[in-house]
């Protein structure tokens, strides 16, 4: 095994959206920054071409390169091991830019009360800082990512969005008008999607392919963040699979990080400050793997909290036929939602949620079903048209409370480099199930209003998970139950910082990325303060 040495002021693991945007900000202060990224570079046009040639167009991972030396969950590889009553599933991309290559671009802020769940409602945990503390960083993230949306969305703002709200689809306008009558306010989503030329990228042209890839970059993604980082002077080493964090011989300070190349040559990288931004599953894995005599539980894990408190959004779903042709599939895939259930007194008893309406082109799935039923000829064409025009799907982005038993662990299966796969214990509490039950009632009311036919609910004990992987590196003031403090600094290693969705101590009722970026940009300021 060759051993070569590299060094930088700040060494970051993971060139995802959070690691890359932090790197850019730190490098702009004149510090040297090196990112170690496990995957290869990703080329958008190749991904688009592979999607068009692909057979399983519902598999959002299929168009992306797969490497068994940097594995990720795929249909074919059984990467996640599960031990709990509810199988945990998620998908992520290991490549420059990370998982936001395929996302829906939803870029929500939390609401202020999300930060003090314990104080206000006696459940979950409080954040180590308030909404107001994070507000300037939310704005900084929104400007970077090009976020647009309606001003009045439940999260107060000090400045307007950097661009106007996206033009609404016909479907949005119709559903909004009809639900107004029964007291539900429908709004367009806040999203990292251009409503005009912005930062060298064009406005959305309705490709309706936000997942698995926006073909024109009207939707922001981590590949763009990585490019900005490079322009700021950040050095990104690709195909560098980090497998060990090394501490100093006689202190708790982190001294180096070790990575493998795909051929298993090993390299050692030193630095002053280290940031782990390898996503909310791979980062805890890395910390748990880095055992030593001084730290037998792994790095940053002296209190056994790394990987615990795993939260996601175990959603309920419903689909039906609306009584008028709204024609979903024009505009972005995730376009509009209801905010009214995100906060309320009932939150001490039952989970809050946001309701999402689907605007995904439904033609493929509908045709599949009809052909399975043996419908042919003119009838087939007519039904494709009719069902596509009237199709509707809804989901609730439901809050799950942090439970220390729900966790990421090291599995016993190994990848080709000998690195363990992740293993999970995951369950869904009655608190969340009560939230889902309440959501089903609201789904029913809305469906009735929209003249629903062929109403179909997801099974009550089946959960559709949302890839909003949070809690596993949770921040907090209580050193006994959290992994890092409000700065993102490990409770046990002064020069080790954690970043990404894992540091969010609660999952709230929105997609996690904007908040993870805002928190990361805030953490970057503490890193800069340490070094400059």
């Amino acid at each position: 095994m060759a051993t070569t040495q590299t060094s930088a002021d700040v060494v970051i693991v993971g060139a995802g959206i959070v690691g890359s945007l932090m790197a850019e900000k730190i490098a702009q202060q004149g510090l040297s920054v090196l990112i170690l990224e496990s995957g290869p570079n990703i080329d958008r046009n190749h991904v688009v071409a592979k999607f068009r040639h692909g057979v399983d167009k519902g598999d959002y991972m299929a168009p992306y390169p797969y490497n068994d030396w940097a594995p990720e969950p795929r249909k074919f590889n059984d990467y996640f091991q599960n031990e709990g009553p509810v199988p945990y599933s998620a998908s992520y991309i290991r490549g420059v830019g990370g998982t936001t290559w395929h996302w829906a671009g939803m870029a929500w802020r939390y609401v202020p009360n999300d930060f003090k769940l314990k104080t206000l409602y006696g459940v979950g945990r409080d954040w180590p800082f308030s909404y107001d503390d994070l507000e300037p960083f939310y704005y900084e993230a929104e400007v970077k990512m090009g976020v647009s949306g309606p001003e009045d969305n439940g999260s107060p703002r000090s400045k307007p969005f950097p661009m106007p709200e996206l033009a609404p689809s016909w479907a949005l306008s119709r559903v909004r008008d009809r639900l107004e009558g029964i007291g539900y306010k429908v709004i367009g989503n806040t999203a990292a999607r251009n409503s005009q030329n912005y930062d060298g990228r064009p406005a959305c042209v309705g490709n309706n392919n936000c997942m698995p890839v926006c073909p024109v970059d009207a939707q922001y993604h981590g590949g763009i963040s990585a490019q900005s980082a490079k322009q700021a002077g950040v050095n990104i080493i690709t195909e560098a699979i980090v497998y060990k964090i090394e501490h100093a011989k006689n202190s708790d300070k982190i001294e180096a990080i070790h990575y493998y190349t795909p051929n298993k040559d090993s390299f050692r990288v030193t630095g002053k400050t280290f940031v782990l931004a390898a996503n909310a599953i791979e980062t805890p894995k890395l910390m748990l793997m880095s055992k030593s005599d001084r730290f037998p539980n792994g790095i940053g894990n002296s209190n056994d909290m790394v990987g615990r408190h795993l939260c996601d959004h175990p959603r309920a779903k419903v689909s039906f036929e609306v009584d008028e042709p709204i024609w979903p599939g024009r505009g972005p895939m995730s376009e509009y939602s209801i905010q009214s259930e995100r906060d309320g007194e009932w939150r001490s008893e039952s989970a809050a949620f946001r309701i999402d309406f689907s605007n995904t082109n439904p033609v493929r799935g509908i045709t599949d079903k009809l052909i399975k039923q043996g419908v042919y000829g003119e009838e087939l064409e007519q039904q494709i048209r009719h069902k596509s025009a009237h199709s509707m799907g809804m989901k609730n982005i439901v809050e799950q409370l942090p439970d220390p038993n729900n966790r990421v662990m090291l599995g016993d299966r190994l990848d080709t480099l000998g690195i363990p796969n992740p293993k999970f214990y995951y369950s869904v509490s009655d608190y969340t199930r009560r939230g889902n039950a309440r959501a089903r009632e609201i789904f029913t009311t809305i469906a009735k209003r929209l003249g629903a036919k062929e109403l179909s609910f997801s099974a009550e004990d089946k959960f559709s998970l949302a890839n909003h992987i949070t809690g596993t590196l949770g921040m907090g003031d209580d050193r006994a139950t959290t992994v890092c403090n409000g700065e993102g600094r490990s409770h046990f290693h002064d020069n080790l910082f954690l970043a990404g969705t894992g540091v969010l101590p609660t999952v709230a009722t929105v997609n996690s990325t904007l908040t993870a970026v805002a928190v990361g940009l805030r953490t970057a300021e503490f890193i800069i303060e340490d070094l400059v």
């Binding site: 080329d43 071409a49 016909w170 024609w327 024009r330 042919y376 000829g377 064409e381 009719h386």
Partner: protein, 173 residues
């Protein structure tokens, strides 16, 4: 924008077909109707007759027809014989697209899989199952997207200029 090159990616040849896809073409390998027909003219004609019944279209794209026929024949060595059997059965019993599948399931199960294969090829642009499945068309020529082409684009193709989705779509469906 594409400074990034995927390493374990698409070969040059793959990229050329990919470019064709980018401009919205139907993906057809080099084959001619004559070549397809030369294999077994009666089978090819049976295939065309059944394709017309299943799609309710008389103006099916000939290049796509060749590709579908050749692909199905490649994947099933009895295809020519089976498609003729199916066609004869349909003609003898005056079957329509409405009763086709039910009658085959009950009376001619040996060829009851074929209508779905033809429908999948014409409407969804996919031939074959499982690992052998391949995409032969992904555009407005793919009939499920042709059916809605006045309102929707196949995902990944632009619908039109920014904001076009605000307009009122057809209501007579």
């Amino acid at each position: 924008m594409s400074q990034y090159k995927e390493k374990a990616g698409i070969s040059r040849r793959g990229f050329l077909t990919a470019s064709a896809a980018l401009s919205g073409l139907t993906l057809v390998p080099f084959a001619s109707q004559a070549q397809a027909a030369a294999t077994d003219a009666k089978a090819f004609n049976a295939f065309m007759a059944l394709s017309q019944l299943i799609t309710a279209k008389s103006d099916l794209n000939p290049a796509l027809a060749d590709t579908i026929y050749l692909s199905l024949a490649q994947q099933d060595e009895d295809f020519a014989a089976r498609i003729k059997t199916l066609n004869a059965f349909v003609a003898d019993h005056n079957l329509t697209s409405a009763n086709l599948q039910a009658r085959l399931d009950a009376e001619q199960p040996d060829v009851a899989d074929l209508p779905r294969k033809l429908a999948k090829a014409w409407f969804q642009g996919i031939v074959g199952e499982g690992k052998a499945a391949k995409t032969i068309s992904y555009s407005d020529n793919t009939l499920m997207y042709a059916a809605v082409a006045d309102v929707l684009a196949p995902p990944s193709y632009a619908l039109g200029a920014y904001g076009i989705w605000s307009s009122k779509p057809p209501q007579d469906v």
